[in-house]
Amino acid sequence: MEEVMVMLDEFADLSEMFNVDNVFGEPQMFEGRMIIPVAEIAYGFGVGFGSGAEGGCDCDYDDFCDCDETCDDDCECDCHTEGFEDACDCDCDCDCEDYDDAPVMGGGGGGGGMARPIAFIEVTAEGATVRPIMDEQKIALAGIFLSAWIAGCFALVLKALFGKK
C-alpha cells in the first residue's frame, strides 16, 4: 500500500506540472512577428490495487509436506490457502515458520499525456491574428474512409434501383 501511495504522490506532482499556462507556448519572434503556439493538452493516470484473503505457505513443500501415498505427486502444501484445504487428501503437515497471515497486496498503475497543436497566434504591429493548424494526415485518412463509405452507399443505391429481384 505504501508503494501505491508513493505512486499517487508522484502522479500528483505530475499534475502540478500541467496547468492552463502550458496551453500557450513561449512567444517566439520570427521576421518581425511574434508567434505564440497554442495546443490542446490532455493527461491522465490511474492506479489499481487489490489484496488476497490470506498469505500462502512459503516453506519448501518437499521438506514439510507429508503427503499420503494416495495423493498425487503434484500435491502441494496449500493447506493454509483459502479454498485449497480439501484440494487433495494430503496429510499436510506444513510446519512453515514463515507462514504469514497478513493479506497479500498488489497493484499497478500508469499514465500518459499528449499535446496537440491547434493554432498559433501571430502578433504584428497591426494586431493579433489567429492561424488555425490542421492535421492533414488525420483529414486525409478520414477523407479516404469517407470516400469508401460514400462509394459503398452508392453501390447499395444502384443495387436497390437496378438490381434483380
Binding site: V23, E40, I41, V47, G127, I133, I150, A160
Partner: protein, 99 residues
C-alpha cells in the same frame, strides 16, 4: 460502484505580453476523477484553449481559437451520416415502388 467526479470550467490563463498588445487567454478545462479506496483511482484532465482577447492601444478584440482539425472531421462525419440516411431512404423507396 465507482464514484466519479466530473467538472468542466473555463479558466483564464496568465496574460501574455506581446509588444504593445496584451493577450488574455481563456481555457476550457474538463477534468474527471474517481475510484474507490480499495480498488484504485483514476484522474484525467483535458485543457482546450477557447479564445484570446487582445488588448491594444485601439481597444480590445476577441479572437476565437477554433480546432480546425476537429471541425473538419465533424463535417466529414456529418456528411457520412447524411449519405447513409439518404441511402437508407432510397433503398426503402425503391422496395416500396417494386411492390
Amino acid at each position: 460502484m465507482h464514484k466519479s467526479d466530473q467538472r468542466t470550467r473555463i479558466v483564464s490563463a496568465t496574460p501574455i505580453e506581446a509588444g504593445k498588445f496584451r493577450l488574455l487567454p481563456a481555457v476550457l478545462v474538463m477534468s474527471q476523477q474517481g475510484g474507490m479506496p480499495d480498488t484504485g483511482y483514476f484522474s484525467q484532465v483535458r485543457m482546450r484553449p477557447v479564445s484570446v482577447v487582445a488588448q491594444g492601444p485601439e481597444g480590445a478584440r476577441w479572437h476565437a481559437l477554433p480546432d480546425a482539425t476537429q471541425a473538419a472531421l465533424s463535417q466529414m462525419a456529418a456528411v457520412g451520416a447524411i449519405v447513409a440516411a439518404a441511402t437508407f431512404v432510397v433503398i426503402v423507396l425503391a422496395r416500396l415502388a417494386r411492390r
